[in-house]
């Protein structure tokens, strides 16, 4: 059963690699949004350092959001999704595999890119570490929760905007604990508590989100 999931992840990654432009667009969106903020609020290092956690995290949320509509859309269009739904594996497990693949091509690159962008904001090396760690722990939750929205808006007109309307409010706890972890490091409180709660959110999100996602996919396929 797990083999099927792994081969699904491998397939999604192969497909993702064939569409490198999509991955690159999401990453550049992240870079551009983050770079716009200093232009909007001014270059004072103190101010930038204070705002950096929130800006980087919000930009990561938006970039993830941008990559979500494609999560099921391609498989839906060419009928693969229907086959997957009919396969003996539970649909929730298949969703989990797709979420994992989505994280590998969106959440992980964002995480790796974030410390470089953090340098633009004059973050200390501890803060950069905390930023990377918080994104590493938190972005799987974004993929997991986002999958619910992607499944609910599958094939719906105005899907992209609608998706952000549905999902962004649900991202708020992840944003609070993720950005909070970096901020706690900057102010010297220590990020331990934030990171633990963020980990709990991710575990809960990745564990529970495939169920409503699978249910929503079944509805979309009816």
């Amino acid at each position: 059963m797990l083999n099927a999931v792994f081969s699904l992840i491998a397939r999604d990654l192969r497909l993702g690699m064939r569409r490198q432009a999509d991955i690159a667009s999401v990453l550049f969106f992240f870079i551009i949004v983050v770079s716009l903020f200093p232009l909007g609020i001014g270059p004072e290092p103190d101010q930038l350092r204070r705002l950096a956690p929130g800006i980087l995290w919000v930009a990561a949320l938006l970039a993830t959001m941008l990559s979500l509509p494609r999560l099921f859309a391609d498989d839906h269009r060419d009928g693969t999704l229907e086959q997957l739904a009919l396969s003996p594996q539970p649909l929730g497990l298949i969703v989990l595999g797709k979420v994992a693949a989505h994280w590998l091509v969106s959440g992980l690159p964002l995480t790796l890119l974030a410390p470089v962008l953090g340098l633009q904001f004059d973050l200390s090396s501890e803060a950069l570490q905390a930023l990377t760690l918080s994104l590493l722990i938190g972005t799987p939750a974004l993929s997991g929760i986002g999958a619910i929205g992607a499944a609910l808006t599958l094939g719906v007109r105005g899907g992209g905007v609608l998706l952000s309307l549905l999902i962004l409010p649900l991202y708020i706890p992840v944003l609070i604990f993720g950005a909070g972890a970096v901020e706690a490091t900057v102010t010297g409180v220590g990020a331990q508590a934030h990171l633990s709660l963020l980990g709990a959110l991710t575990l809960a999100g990745v564990f529970f989100a495939p169920w409503p996602t699978a249910a929503a996919l079944r509805i979309a396929l009816e």
Binding site: L152, V156, L166, P169, I172, I176, A184, L201, P212
Partner: protein, 247 residues
Amino acid sequence: MSKGFNWYHFSSPQTFYPLAGKMIPWFWALAALFGIAGLIVGFLIAPTDAQQGEGYRIIFLHVPASWMSMFIYLVMAFWAALGLAFNFRLSAMMAQALAPTGALFAFLSLWTGALWGKPMWGAWWVWDARLTSELILLFLYVGFIALQASIDDPRRADKAGAILALVGVVNVPIIYFSVKWWNTLHQGSTVNIAKSSMAKVMLVGMLLCALACWMYAIAVALMRVRKIVLERERHTEWVKAELAQEK
């Protein structure tokens, strides 16, 4: 009609439609009754609050609106879940009918909260845990309404909306506690609403106003659900007969 209370009987839109029509005036009457009583107690009888002056009277509007916005979300999720689990058409329509009213109450709660906050805290808006959660609740309502509005097939809209409402209900406490945690870390904007022991007469006024809002919500939701029933069942014989009858 058989003896006893038959859920299946009442959950059929055909039976429910005229029943709801008969109930609506009663709920309007109750809403008016409680509303007038609550406003008299709150605005004419209740004495001034020692700490907040006369501005505190906004709570007779604000607190009922906040309560209703949260309560309606729960009721909406309950009907949506029932519709999803047992395929009751009517309960899904009920969820759909409740959402706009809940969103309006969330808006009213924010509006009255802002107008209360300005004289009390000196700011229209503070990032207090309760205010922030209320704002997020409004977003959740808007998401639910937008999702249902953009799906053409009503049965798919019902089910998708139900899943979203259930996910929302699970998330509301998580969001609330994370916002609260966030709020306590940023002490600057913490607001302490004076917890002066509320005089009994104030409490009575507030409860009466809350009851009025409750009855209002039921009346309005029933009106809206009747509209939805007509629209969805337009190809059935009974709706055609109904249309011929109505003036």
